[in-house]
């Protein structure tokens, strides 16, 4: 279930209400998001589409606790994150959010194994437990044989799969993907999208994905269009 009219019930995993986000640049006030409402149920795979500057990434940053709204509230799994302090928000992110970026954002001096292990360093898991989690996760993304490779030794698609493994290794509440296929060729992009679909279908992961690519959006269960700071429900991929 995905709603944009504020009518979502208590079973929403993610709930945004009357969300405004305003930036001031050179004395000019820019309203990026205006009174946005969003309800996402657990296990949903939602694609956000829209032209550049429409506020897609800003919405993702707000939902991921990387930025704070000018007005409104965001509740995730019962936690109201809008008024959390910086430190609490960091802890919350570590437990609840898995980020997947367009440029993968892997640490180049760490191996695939070490990159995936990063979120687990923030937990109380033992070294052996971390190892087994990382190995299992890299097996899920099909890179069990690339654990000791550095990012520079991997293809773009493999790097993104490592990034996905890093995002899911700590079993977060939901995944936020910002143009996850934006830097990949069609074949690699399809592999990544298939992987995300698998995570949604087989592992019931809640996924929110920003994309420009209608083919990518087709993998989502629901597609929302963002234009001039307002979300529109159910627009077909490629309609913009």
């Amino acid at each position: 279930m995905v709603k944009v009219d504020g009518s979502g019930g208590a079973n929403s995993l993610i709930q945004a209400r009357d969300l405004d986000k305003t930036f001031t640049r050179g004395g000019e006030v820019i309203d990026v998001l205006q009174g946005l409402n969003l309800d996402v149920a657990p296990g949903e795979f939602v694609a956000f589409m829209g032209p550049s500057g429409s506020g897609k990434s800003t919405l993702l940053n707000l939902l991921g606790g990387l930025d704070v709204p000018t007005r409104g509230s965001i509740t995730v799994a019962g936690d109201e994150i809008t008024h959390m302090s910086g430190g609490r928000l960091t802890d919350w992110r570590a437990r609840h959010v898995g980020f997947i970026f367009q440029m993968y954002n892997l640490i180049p001096v760490l191996t695939a194994f070490q990159n995936v292990e990063l979120p687990l360093l923030l937990t109380k898991l033992s070294k052996a437990e971390r190892r087994s989690h990382v190995e299992a996760t890299l097996a899920i993304v099909g890179l069990a044989d690339r654990m000791r490779h550095y990012p520079r030794q991997l293809s773009g698609g493999q790097e993104q799969r490592v990034a996905i493994a890093r995002a899911i290794v700590a079993d977060p509440t939901f995944l936020l993907c910002d143009e996850p296929t934006g830097d990949l060729d069609r074949k690699s992009a399809d592999e990544i999208l298939d992987l995300l679909t698998r995570l949604s279908v087989e592992y019931n992961k809640t996924i929110l994905m920003v994309t420009h690519d209608p083919a990518a959006a087709e993998h989502a269960k629901a597609v929302l269009h963002l234009n001039k700071g307002v979300l529109v429900e159910g627009m077909a991929p490629g309609a913009h």
Partner: protein, 380 residues
């Protein structure tokens, strides 16, 4: 501990840059260690000077002698326990570069006034009975491979140009760390017999006191006693004498402080710049770490940790090399007999290195800590 691989991986992402920065630390710490060693060598006499000893020299200059007859007069002053005397010989053993201090001494009172320079009883007994006998410090004996029974020829430079031969009857050792083990002693009577001028004189007196508390009174009494005589004296504590001797070389302390300050300030700038560049070129990675859930404070400590590791590696290398260098002994051929890097200096060097490491890292680390994830990711 689990974060160490992350810190090490970041530290050595630019191996050449990190190596050069560590090298800068190593060179600075080596220089620091060496300066402290040299300072210690110059101040050796000050550090080991007895609090209950006074040095009496000719008021005109140290090189002017004093009459032998003063000894009995000094002994009559209240507070004086003993008096001994020395005369500088200034001879050459084989080559000028083989420098070590040679003194004509008073065998009867020398061990009573300088008990810390210990000679085995049987060797001392032999020396006292041997008119051409000599005692060498363990350092000098080791330096030239001398052993008891050897014949030591020393060419005179002050008292004629001929070569004086001595029997090495014994070897003394210092009983405290830093005691001078480079001296060479022989009988004052032998000197007095052979020299053709200044007979009946000595170079300087060392007065042993009943108590350090009587130092001022005795010094005044000695100088008053010799006032208006042809050989007026200047009396000061052994420490003040050694300090004055060291200061003849110039203000070593100030020189060392100035060089050390410049070196460490430069090091601070070099390391600070390295860390600033290191932070600037991985802003995206730092933002990713924060997005993943690493706290601002962790990022601060991680950058500081890298800076500290550079400092510690540099200090280990620099101070280690300095220690190795000093283990080879005095490189000046006898002018700096106490050439030793102490544990306290090593510890102090580490503390200074850690402070510089922290100071160099604090600005880049705090800017990394304040980094906003959203702003940083936008730049990637």
């Amino acid at each position: 501990m689990k974060f160490l691989p992350l810190i090490f991986a970041n530290l050595f992402r630019k191996k050449l840059r990190t190596t050069l920065t560590i090298g800068s630390f190593a060179v600075a710490l080596f220089l620091f260690g060496l300066l402290v060693v040299v300072r210690g060598a110059f101040n050796q006499g000050v550090d080991i000077a007895g609090a209950d000893r006074l040095i009496v020299i000719n008021k005109v200059s140290l090189i002017m002698p004093l009459p032998f007859s003063y000894r009995d007069r000094f002994l009559r002053i209240p507070g004086v326990k003993n008096v001994t005397y020395d005369t500088w010989f200034g001879g050459i053993y084989q080559e000028v570069s083989n420098f070590f201090p040679q003194f004509a001494i008073d065998p009867e009172n020398q061990p009573l006034v300088f008990p810390e320079l210990a000679v085995p009883a049987d060797q001392w007994k032999t020396f006292v009975a041997d008119r051409t006998g000599a005692i060498a410090g363990a350092g000098t004996a080791k330096r030239f491979g001398w052993k008891v029974g050897d014949r030591i020829p020393i060419k005179s430079t002050i008292f004629g140009n001929d070569t004086w031969e001595f029997n090495l009857d014994g070897i003394y050792k210092g009983t405290h760390e830093g005691d001078d083990e480079t001296q060479f002693w022989f009988h004052d009577k032998f000197l007095d017999e052979r020299r053709t001028f200044s007979k009946g004189t000595v170079g300087w007196y060392t007065v042993k006191l009943d108590s350090p508390d009587s130092a001022i009174a005795v010094a005044k009494a000695v100088d008053s006693m010799t006032a208006n005589s042809p050989d007026e004296t200047k009396t000061e504590t052994e420490k003040a004498f050694a300090l004055g001797f060291a200061k003849q070389m110039g203000n070593i302390e100030l020189l060392i402080l100035a060089i050390g300050s410049v070196v460490f300030f430069t090091l601070l700038l070099v390391t600070g710049n390295t860390m600033a560049i290191s932070v600037r070129e991985r802003i995206g990675e730092l933002a990713t770490l924060k997005a993943v859930g690493f706290a601002d404070r962790f990022v601060l400590l991680m950058i500081l940790g890298e800076s500290l590791l550079i400092a510690i590696f540099g200090a280990v290398i620099g101070l280690g090399l300095c220690k190795l260098f000093t283990l080879r002994g005095d490189p000046t051929g006898g002018f700096l007999p106490y050439f030793h890097l102490s544990g306290a200096t090593v510890l102090f060097g580490f503390v200074v290195a850690i402070l510089v490491g922290l100071l160099a890292g604090i600005l880049p680390a705090s800017s990394a800590m304040r980094l906003r994830v959203v702003d940083a990711l936008r730049r990637v």
